[in-house]
Each structure stands twice: as C-alpha cells, then as structure tokens.
C-alpha cells in the first residue's frame, strides 16, 4: 500500500468569458513510504498545481474545480474538511516552496515562525518550544541557532532561509515532504548543499519526498522514481536509471536532449524541443505534445493516447515511442511487455540520431516563449509509413 496514491487528479480554472484552463488533467502517481519521487516538466505543465491541490492550498476562487483522488494513508485528502486538512498539513505532510525569501514572513522573527508549528501540532510552548526550535535549526545546519531565532528573514542569506523553511517543514517529522522547486532560487553551490540536506533528512527519518523540479540534474541526483508531466498529465513514469538510459516518450527524449552533457561528442548539438508549453492540443483531441513532437504520426491526433505499461513497472503515454535500442520500434508500441533491452549507457545519446532533427534554426530559439516564433512542424505523413 502506497503512502500517497494520486489517482486521476484534475484541476480546472473556469473564468467567465474565458476559456476554461485544465491545469492538471488526470494526473496519477504514487509515493511509497520513504521513497523519493520526482515530478518533472517544463514550467506550466501542472507540477506545482498538482502539489498545491494535494495540500489543499490552491487559492480559493470561483470556478476552481478539483477532481479525482489523493489518498494519503487511507484517507482521501480531497474529501477532507478544512479543519482536518489543517491538522494533517504541517504534521503529516509538509511542504517547502521555491522562493525562500518571499515564503517567510518578513516582519516576524524566524524563531516564532518555527515555534508556531511546534505549538500547533506538538503543543509545545515557551522555553521548551524555543529549545526544540534551536535544535531544529541546528539539525538543518544553521550555525549559532539561538541567535538566529531572534533574527528576521532579511538578515539571513538565501541558503539559510531555505534551511529555516526546511526546519519548519520537518518540525513534526512528517511522513511526506513535498518540495516545490526548492533550489531554483538559489546559487548553484547552495543548491547542492540544500539537496544534500534533503537527502540526509530523508535517509535519517524515513520521510517520503516528492521532488518537483524542472531540473533533470536534481532528479538524477536523488529520485527513485520519476514522473514526467506534460500539459497536466503524466506522460512517462520510470525508475531513475531506465528513464535516463532509455527514455520512451518523445517529450522525455526531448528533455534529456536539451541538457548539455560532458560526454557528448565534439560538435554534437543540443536538440531543443521546438515551440513552447503553450502549443498544447487539448488531451481529448489527441496527444497534447503532438504539436511539438518530432515523432508525430497521424494516430497522435484524434483520441488521447492510452497509457502503455512496459516492463519493470514503467509506463508511458505515446503511440509512437522512441525505440529501445535493439528492439523493433512497432513492437514497443503494440505490446506492453516488450523485451527488456540491454542497458547500454552509450546508446542513450543515440536517441538523438533516431529522432528526426528539428529545424536547424531552432537551436537558437529564444528563451522567452512569448516572443519565440511558433514552430509547429508541418504534418509529415510519410513519417508514419
């Protein structure tokens, strides 16, 4: 029995006079006790909304609809009333956010921001709470914790702030920790320290961790299982090694192809994914990734791709997945029990060769999606032949 079982979670924002937005469109994944699970995708793919929906932290607004299930330890979090949810939050499930400065209250000392959790969930007060708070700060590696308790967020460095937030999150030894891009706003050297700290905490306390990130480096460093999200759906799920060695969904292939590698051959180019997350086909009309996909065939459009279960518990949502080296591509598409391919790290980059190269000029595509020319490749029918 998994600790957290998210099943067909959907979040829609309906606004009068505007198109309804399906921010999360049927996400399913599970987290076992003590497991580190990654939710990976570009910004706008629904990672953060997923985590906020599980926590019940989506801003209340008319037109917001949350569907599906998020079963934590036998209770569906989405069905709980406000009060029971507040009891669970911070005690059983805790969360860390992206920007440590804005996530801390600027006019309240760090100490109170830690002790208020202790007071709420562990009934600790006064001297005892202050002592425990200092111990927590010490545990997350903040030097001179007694003094820091009296300080305000603006007096701390970025890394220290994130450590303080982590201290608040682990104050009640939660069974599940959700970290939403916890290192994005930090310097690279600090990023490594924070990731190391999270790993250590998870290992020592047996807390399960859901790591939300767009950074495949973070994922490679610590996640056991990885869910790749696109346009509000999980498009591929796999253990860490298989995912990096033999990505099946073209989107995963694209993500990996966009990361610079030291072991890449000289002169080998990065292969960016053309277009942006905004070029989305609504899922009921086909594969949302189709407009940007290099492996698109006619079957991609018309109805949503089924989830394909492959060997080793991995799954992907694609009718024309990237071939596993040594196997015949259509076999993977037809049978969920395709033979396990020999894992050979050297063949991973070869996927780039098999994927038809994007237009050459897309290598210099501007970073800003709003100004980027939309590159919807013209439908190429011969590809399916």
């Amino acid at each position: 029995m998994a600790l957290l079982e998210v099943d067909d979670l959907s979040v829609t924002f309906a606004r009068r006079g505007q198109r309804t937005v399906n921010a999360v469109d049927g996400v399913s994944f599970s987290v076992d006790a003590g497991e580190v699970v990654g939710l990976v995708g570009e910004s706008g793919c629904g990672k953060s909304v997923t985590s906020l929906a599980i926590m019940g932290l989506l801003p209340k607004q008319p037109g917001l609809r949350v569907g599906g299930k998020a079963v934590f330890d036998g209770t569906d979090l989405l069905q709980l009333d406000d009060r029971s949810r507040r009891d669970i939050r911070g005690r059983d499930i805790a969360m860390i956010f992206q920007d440590p400065l804005s996530s801390l209250n600027p006019v309240i000392p760090i100490g109170l921001q830690v002790t208020e959790v202790l007071a709420r969930h562990r009934g600790m007060k006064g001297e005892a709470a202050a002592k425990e708070a200092a111990a927590l700060l010490d545990r997350v590696g903040i030097p001179d914790p007694k003094r820091r308790l009296k300080e305000y967020p603006h007096q701390l460095s970025g890394g220290m702030r994130q450590r303080a937030l982590i201290a608040m999150a682990v104050a009640c030894q939660p069974r599940l920790l959700i970290a939403d891009e916890p290192t994005t706003a930090l310097d690279v050297t600090i990023q490594a320290q924070i990731l190391e700290l999270l790993k250590e905490l998870v290992r020592d306390s047996g807390t399960a961790l859901v790591m939300i990130t767009h950074d495949l480096g973070v994922v490679a460093g610590m996640c056991d299982t990885i869910n790749v999200l696109y346009a509000g759906r999980v498009v591929e799920t796999a253990r860490r090694r298989p995912l990096f060695r033999e990505p099946r969904h073209p989107y995963t292939v694209g993500l990996l192809g966009s990361v610079p590698r030291l072991d890449a051959g000289r002169g080998e180019r990065l292969i960016p994914i053309p277009g942006s997350v905004r070029d989305v086909l609504p899922w009921p009309d086909g594969c949302a990734f189709a407009p940007r996909c290099a492996r698109r065939i006619d079957e991609c459009v018309g109805e949503p791709p089924e989830l394909v279960l492959a060997h080793d518990g991995r799954s992907y949502r694609c009718v024309n997945p990237a071939p596993v080296p040594g196997s015949v591509p259509p076999a993977a598409k037809l049978g969920p029990d395709a033979p396990a391919a020999p894992a050979d790290p050297a063949t991973a980059p070869a996927d780039r060769a098999t994927a038809p190269a994007a237009p050459a000029d897309s290598a210099t595509a501007p970073a800003d999606p709003a100004t980027a020319p939309t590159q919807v490749p013209a439908p190429r029918e011969e590809e399916s032949a």
Partner: protein, 334 residues
C-alpha cells in the same frame, strides 16, 4: 535610533528655511505691506511710517530677512490684529481643541476603516465589498464642509441628538487644566464635563473622519488582497496553522504596514479639514480661528498658524516614520 532622529531633524532645516522664506515674501507682498498687517486698514500715514522705521523696513532686504528669522526662532510671531494678543498665545490656547478633534476623527477612521477594509477584502466581490468600495469613493468625493452641514442639519437641528456648536456646554462650568476639555474632565473627575466635551466631538469628528476613513478602507482592502497572495501566507497555511493564527499573525499584521505609512499623510488632510469642519460647527480650535483670520485679514495669525501647523505636520510624519521602523524590521534603524 537616536542618530536617525537627529538626521531627520536636520533634514527639517532646509524645509523650514524655505517655508520661512516663502512666508517672508508673502508678508512683503501683502497689499499695503507688513504695516497694514499690524495696523489693519486703520492707521494714519504717520503711524505707518513709524512702524516702517521701527521694524527696520528701510534697511536692506537681507538684514530684514535675518531679523525675521531671528524672531521666528524666538517664537515671536507677532500680534493678532483682531484680538490684539500674541499669535503664539492664541495658538496655544486653541491647539488642544483641534488635537482633540483630529484624534477623535483618527479614532473613528482607524476604528472603522481597518476592520471594514479587511472584511471587504475577505468577502471580495460580494455585497459588503462593493458597498464599502462604493461608499469610500463617495466619501472621497463629498466636500467636507457640505457633509458637516448635512450632519449638523440632520442630527443636531432636526433630531437634536447632538449639540450643533462649540466644544462644551458653558453652563456646566467645567474646570480648565490643560485646555484638552475631555482630559480636563477626566483629571478633575468632572465626568459630566468630560462626557459633554466628548458629545460635542461626535458630529465634527464624523465629518472630519470622512476622507481618512475612505482612504484607510481602500488602502487596507488593497493591502489585504495583496498580502493574501503572498508566498508566506501560503507557507503559514502549509504549516497547518489555524485560520485565526494565519489571519491575525500573518495576514493582518503585514497588511497594516501601508496603512501606518498613510496615517502621517492623513494628518495633513485632517489639519486641512479641521479648518472647514470647525468653521461649520463653530468649534473653538485653530481651524475656526484660521477662517476668522481669513475674513478679518488677520495676516499675522494666518501666517503664524500656518507655519506652526507645517512644523507640527512634519513632526507627526517623523513620528509615524519612527513607529513604522518599529513595526517593520526591514527598515529598522540603528
């Protein structure tokens, strides 16, 4: 902290210098010159000439300005042409009344404005929100003196709920200690005197409070809406804190920061509004006296009062800045 105060006081000097220059020029520009300001419209040419000599008006302009500044520093602001008493005495006598009135107005504005603005933000888009936003718009657009007349006509002349003029019923025969009538009543244990003085404050207080109330409602509402979207409120929610803690400790406290900043500026509006309100209610403060001074062309009073009010206003703003630094650690000064 001490150095901050000193620095701010030093910053005051150029402002006061400029003000004194402005007032000096004003005095010289007056029709008939300063001698008219002292003598009024009466006075023979000989008297005028004597005063010109006495005041050194035939000396170079810089010498005159120097003398003017020296008088200002000694707090010698001249004599009222209508009451023949020292301008400073007149001010000291009337100022407590205006302080009482502005404090009353501020209490009304803050006491109603902050809760109303907060509730409007929490019930965004519902009736209370629309009503308070609409009400505050109208509050800003109503001329203060018109509102004062309307309140007086309805609640005092028709319904007789409140007295229509003055600061206190003279037949009570209250003892004077500080000239703060409410305070006097409390200090001398003349409860009826204190209550009567308070009763006299209600209508002018409401009229004067209209604009600051409207502004505080709007600022509080906008500020709460902004803070509700802040990341740290989400963090507080993620900690599972009770709704009460989240609202009180995290939302309201941070929302009040811009309101505190605005209070200093609002006192300026109150001092302006006091001129209009006190006039309508014949309330014995500096505002009503300024109105008298305008119609009597009592220039020494007008000039002196405006100079003192400017100083008071600047000091109030200094105080607000200091208290702000106590609330917001980010601007805390050493």
């Amino acid at each position: 902290m001490f150095r901050f105060i000193v620095r701010r006081l030093l910053q005051l000097i150029p402002t006061l210098f400029g003000l004194s220059l402005l007032l000096f020029i004003w005095l010289r520009r007056l029709p008939g010159g300063p001698e008219t300001a002292i003598l009024g419209e009466r006075g023979t040419p000989e008297m005028r000439a004597a005063i010109r000599r006495n005041m050194g008006l035939d000396e170079p302009i810089l010498v005159q300005y120097g003398r003017f500044v020296r008088r200002l520093i000694r707090l010698d602001l001249g004599t009222s042409t209508s009451t023949k008493r020292s301008v400073v005495t007149e001010f000291v006598e009337r100022f407590p009344g205006t302080v009482e009135l502005t404090v009353m107005a501020m209490v009304i504005a803050i006491g109603i404005g902050i809760p109303l603005g907060y509730l409007a933000a929490r019930r965004r888009g519902r009736f209370l929100d629309h009503a308070s936003v609409g009400g505050s718009l109208i509050g800003i657009c109503i001329p203060v003196f018109f509102l004062a007349y309307v309140l007086k006509a309805i609640f005092s002349e028709n319904l007789h709920w409140f007295p229509s003029t003055g600061r206190q019923d003279p037949t009570i025969g209250a003892t004077r200690v500080t000239n703060f009538f409410v305070l006097d009543g409390l200090m001398t244990r003349e409860w009826d005197a204190a209550a009567d003085a308070l009763w006299h404050l209600v209508l002018p207080g409401i009229a004067l409070a209209s604009i600051p109330l409207a502004i505080i409602v709007r600022i509080t509402r906008a500020s709460v809406l902004e803070v509700l979207n802040e990341d740290f409120v989400r963090t507080a929610e993620a900690k599972g804190l009770t709704e009460r803690t989240v609202r009180g400790r995290h939302v309201l406290r941070n929302s009040l920061l811009p309101v505190v900043t605005s209070i200093g500026l609002l006192t300026g509006g109150l001092l302006s509004g006091a001129v209009l309100t006190e006039t309508v209610f014949a309330y014995g403060g500096i505002g009503a006296f300024i109105y008298e001074a305008i119609s009597q062309r009592d220039y020494p009073v007008l000039m002196g009062f405006i100079l003192i009010i400017a100083v008071v206003y600047v000091l109030v703003n200094l105080l607000v800045d200091l208290s702000y630094s106590l609330i917001d650690p980010r601007v805390r000064v050493r």
